[in-house]
């Protein structure tokens, strides 16, 4: 019995060999590096929630021109399993129109032509020509600098550099440490902050999401060592998912940002997006914490599941202290 069952069990070797050969083979095809494309695609968009999301991007949304970049009918998109159906896009178009906006679809055609004069470009299908679009060209033809990516394939850093405000509506299934903008920002910090110096991480205001993906402090901490990163109650923020939720709730209840003032910058470290800077003055408690831990830098951030360069700003502590001294001018 035992021998017979053991032989049957040994058939699992076929599954193991398949697993190993696919793991090695797929890695080889990607140059032995993990790529986002091998993870599940983002979910197809929901016409109702996407319409609300788009309307929320404008103070007055009626009459806004919305350019929808979608594939030609029947054309394959990448990756096919997560693609939004043509019916859903028809519905989105209908909902947008009913809300008073002016949708316009590319249907696989020229993206720049569709985007000309638009207030917002929405990418709904991962069409190769749209994936490789030059953000600077897009910025030139648009009326307002807003893009909404529902596929998660665009590199927000390139759009930021072109002066476009990038929003990501896709739910991403690839791990957050593969985010190219996060890597770009980590490199920027490594080049700016000498090893051994301290960085205090300060959210710009209330933490707006409980998405575990938004814990960008984890990959940054691992990448920036031996620089010293400090966070408000890290024993909760870095712990198990439910404790992290409590950390978000506790921060929002404690309101450490209360009494501080938003600061507009004339120039940013990496991002070109001036209005979206997450900078603010520090509270006395935060200033004291920075002094206690001998930090030289303050890293402001907006707590979001997608890493956008515009949401992050690294500022010398002395500069932040000077803001506090003259805060009425900056408010």
């Amino acid at each position: 019995m035992l021998h017979w069952l053991s032989r049957l069990h040994a058939l699992s070797a076929a599954l193991v060999l398949l697993f190993l050969s696919m793991a090695i083979g797929q890695a080889a095809m990607d140059g032995f590096q993990p790529t986002r494309q091998r993870y599940p695609a983002s979910k197809p968009l929901n016409p109702v929630t996407t319409t609300k999301y788009i309307a929320g991007l404008f103070s007055h949304y009626k009459g806004k021109v919305i350019a929808i970049l979608d594939a030609a009918p029947g054309e394959d998109v990448i990756p096919a399993d997560g693609a939004t159906s043509a019916e859903s896009i028809d519905k989105l178009e209908e909902h947008l129109r009913r809300s008073g906006m002016l949708p316009r679809r590319s249907r696989g055609g020229d993206a720049l032509q569709t985007a000309r004069g638009a207030d917002l470009v929405v990418l709904v299908h991962d069409v190769p020509s749209y994936r490789q679009i030059n953000p600077a060209d897009l910025a030139k033809v648009m009326r307002s600098p807003l893009v909404l990516d529902n596929t998660g394939v665009w590199n927000s850093g390139e759009f930021d550099a072109a002066g476009l405000v990038y929003f990501n509506a896709a739910r991403m299934y690839w791990p957050h440490w593969l985010d190219p903008e996060m890597e770009q920002f980590a490199t920027f910090v490594r080049n700016t902050v000498p090893p051994g110096e301290g960085i205090l991480m300060v959210p710009n205001g209330p933490l707006q999401t409980t998405a575990t993906r938004a814990r960008w402090f984890l990959p940054l901490n691992a990448r920036l060592l031996p620089r010293r990163l400090y966070l408000w109650h890290p024993e909760m923020g870095t712990s198990f998912v439910t404790t992290y939720y409590q950390w978000v709730n506790s921060y929002n209840q404690e309101t450490p940002w209360r009494g501080t003032q938003k600061v507009r910058l004339d120039k940013r470290g990496l991002s070109k997006n001036l209005p979206s800077a997450p900078t603010r003055t520090l509270s006395p408690v935060e200033i004291q914490a920075a002094k206690n831990h001998d930090v030289q830098w303050i890293l402001f951030w907006r707590h979001q599941p997608d890493f956008l360069l515009g949401d992050w700003e690294l500022v010398p502590f002395t500069t932040v202290l000077s803001w506090s001294a003259k805060s009425p001018q900056n408010s």
Binding site: M1, L2, H3, L5, S6, L8, H9, A10, L11, S12, A13, L15, V16, L17, L18, F19, L20, S21, M22, A23, I24, Q26, A27, A28, F32, P34, R38, Y39, P40, D81, P175, L178, P195, L200, T210, L218, P219, N221, A222, L225, P226, R228, L229, Y230, L231, W232, H233, P234, E235, T238, S239, F240, V241, T242, Y245, Q246, V248, N249, A289, H293
Partner: protein
């Protein structure tokens, strides 16, 4: 350079471990068994010595030289006192079995290195610590212990009281060439490849059939490579090795499983000598220095070995218990440095020693999940938990689903059930009694730990629990299965002097 340092480490660890082993004439083993055992014992020694050094405050930069000097010294000694290869025992493997084991071993090493560190635990729990050792040079640096500060602002570290076994190996590899997310995994890439060989070594004394069967069962258990592959259908096919289901690489569970199996294989072969008991204790201590669960497994081991000796007649003498008590003493000595170091680290969560008490077990036996502790509840999106199911039912269901999941376990659990000592002949075999009590005891312990966990159990389940705990038992279960298969047959070769 990091790759070269990693390759150098492999050689040094082999030399150190090889010197620790008794002569081939005293302890029969094949070349491959010897290689695997030497590497594992060498690694266990490196981890033990470095942990001990870190515990008393010696900088890692100084400790880095110890394995180098010791390895070179051992290599020189091996070269001077070269034993004849004629003294090696013949392999028990048939050619097809050997070919399959080689294929799986090479595949597991290649798959482990195919991608750089790319999972949550390897990056944040272990890789981060490795970098701390490399850059800060201490296990008690602020980057580990500075999490909780009076002003509420502290350093970021996940599970600060996790052991340093894997970080030590990674930091050692990165010392000369710098941190490389791929090559720091090289010393960690051999756990799966070594386990079947260690099992063959342990079962050799029970005959070739036992050794072959045990090795085959272990090597073909999918859990040693990855879990739940193709569970979502063919869409999983190209995603092999990408998700949290990957076991190979920079995680700690395979290391625990392999050292646990090594300790028991050594117990089966060498429990009558102090040297054997020391090596056995060293392997168990190394398992505990890879992940905290190793400590619980070692405690279970001592208890199971005692119980196996005493049950079912309750007749025993101090003389018959002496080897187990000696092992307990050796293990206590070898684990002391890690406990000394751990006492200096903050324990912020998962204090199961404190949590596993009768009161909690009784409570969760009938209670459901706390809605405030559920992802929806604690994120403020849901005020009441729609699930009224008791946690006991959740945990029982998940254990059943796990153990019957052929994609992860093949027929391993069924084989183990078939190997239980339910006949008089099997019951008379003391080693089988001990190993079976051990597996059942560890599975029960994990069950109770998950019953009283402070976390939301469905969330833990989604993160690959309990399979990532049960994988620790693969080697011991394979030893049980092989041993049972040998009963009724003649004794094997290589009985120790």
């Amino acid at each position: 350079m990091t790759l070269l340092t990693a390759l150098l480490y492999l050689g040094l660890a082999y030399c150190i471990g090889r010197v620790l082993l008794p002569a081939r004439t005293l302890l029969a083993r094949s070349r491959w068994e010897e290689t695997a055992l030497s590497y594992l014992l060498g690694t266990a020694t490196v981890v033990f010595v470095t942990t001990a050094g870190l515990a008393v405050g010696i900088p890692f930069a100084v400790l880095w030289w110890l394995p180098l000097c010791a390895g070179l010294g051992c290599g020189w000694r091996l070269w001077r006192q070269a034993e004849s290869t004629n003294t090696l025992a013949a392999s028990t493997f048939s050619k097809p079995l050997a070919a399959l084991l080689v294929l799986l071993a090479v595949g597991s090493v290649a798959a482990a290195l195919a991608l750089p560190l790319n999972e949550f635990d390897p990056i944040y729990h272990f890789g981060y610590r490795g970098k701390v050792l490399l850059f800060d040079g201490s296990a008690t640096a602020e980057s580990i212990v500075g999490m909780i500060q009076a002003d509420g602002y502290g350093r970021l570290v996940t599970h600060p009281n996790y052991p340093f076994g894997i970080p030590i190996l990674e930091a050692w590899t990165a010392k000369l060439g710098g941190w490389d997310d791929r090559w720091v995994q090289l010393p960690l890439a051999f756990w799966t490849a070594c386990m079947p060989l260690v099992i063959a070594f342990g079962l050799r004394r029970f005959g070739a059939k036992a050794a072959n069967l045990g090795s085959l069962v272990a090597a073909t258990t999918p859990m040693l490579y990855g879990s739940d592959y193709l569970a979502h259908g063919w869409v999983d096919l190209p995603r092999a090795g990408l998700t949290g289901e990957m076991m190979l690489g920079g995680g700690g569970d395979l290391a625990v499983a392999t050292f646990f199996a090594t300790g028991l294989a050594l117990w089966l072969r060498l429990s009558s000598s102090w040297r054997g008991l020391t090596l056995c204790g060293l392997a168990l201590a190394a398992g505990a220095m890879m992940k905290n669960e190793g400590l619980a497994l070692a405690g279970c081991t001592i208890l199971a070995l005692l119980l196996g000796q005493v049950l079912p007649t309750f007749r025993c003498t101090l003389r018959s218990l002496a080897p187990v008590l000696r092992l307990a003493g050796v293990f206590a000595l070898l684990i002391a440095p890690w406990l000394l170091l751990r006492a200096q680290l903050p324990a912020i969560d998962e204090n199961y020693t404190e949590r596993l008490n009768l009161e909690n077990v009784m409570y969760y036996w009938s209670a459901g999940e706390n809605p405030d502790n559920s992802p929806m509840g604690s994120s403020g999106k849901l005020k009441t938990d729609p699930s009224q199911e008791r946690r006991l039912d959740h945990v029982l269901t998940s254990f059943w689903e796990e153990c019957t999941d052929w994609r992860s376990w093949g027929l391993l659990w069924l084989l183990f059930l078939c190997a239980l000592p339910v006949t008089r002949q099997r019951l008379a075999n003391i080693e089988l009694r001990q190993l079976c009590i051990l597996v059942l005891g560890c599975a029960t312990l994990y069950f109770l730990i998950l019953l009283v966990t402070p976390w939301n159990y469905p969330s833990l389940r989604a993160k690959g629990i309990p399979e990532r705990l049960l994988v620790h038992l693969v080697g011991v279960m394979s030893l049980c299965i092989g041993l049972t298969a040998s009963l009724g047959q003649g004794k094997g070769e290589g009985e120790e002097a």
